[in-house]
Symmetry: C2
Subunit: 63 residues, 2 copies
Amino acid sequence: MRNRIKIARVEKSLTQAQLAKKVNVTRQTIGLIEKGEYNPTLRLCISIAKALDKTLDDLYWEE
Amino acid sequence: MRNRIKIARVEKSLTQAQLAKKVNVTRQTIGLIEKGEYNPTLRLCISIAKALDKTLDDLYWEE
DNA sequence: TAGTTATGTAATATATAAATTGCATTAAGT
DNA sequence: ACTTAATGCAATTTATATATTACATAACTA
C-alpha cells in the first residue's frame, strides 16, 4: 500500500505524532501506514486526507 | 461510509457476486460495503475501484 | 407451481488493523 | 556531554474487517 502521506504531511510541517492526534490514532499507526506496511481502513484514509487537505486520489491512487 | 459502488456496479451490469469474485471477497462483503455498513480496507477499496473502472475519489470521496 | 437468480441479513469464526508499551537511534539545541 | 524531539521498530493485546454458513424474500420464467 504505497502512498504519499509522508510528503503531504511534511509539506504541512506536521510530525507523525501531530497527524496521529488529528486523526485519533497512535503515532505508530501513522508510521506504519507511511511505510506502506499497513492496509488502513477507508475511514482512516479519509480522515488523513482531510487532515492534510488532500483527496483520496491525491494520497493513495496510482494509475 | 457512504459510497457510490452500487451505481458504478450496475452501470457495468455486474451482480454483487460477480464483483465479489473479481476482487476476491464474498458477496456478503460487497453487499455490506454497498449498504455503507462496512469500513473496508484501502486495498479492497482500490480493487473495487479498478474492477469498476473508477478511482477512489469517484467512489468514496465527498467534499 | 416449482426452480433459478439476485439480494438481504444474521450468527459465529478467523484474519488482520490498530492500540499499547517499551526501547533504540538520530539530529537538534544547550 | 547531556537533553529533548522525532522517528523506527518489536512484542503483545484488543478491536474489527472479512469469511463462512445458512436462511429468507422478491422477481423472473419454464
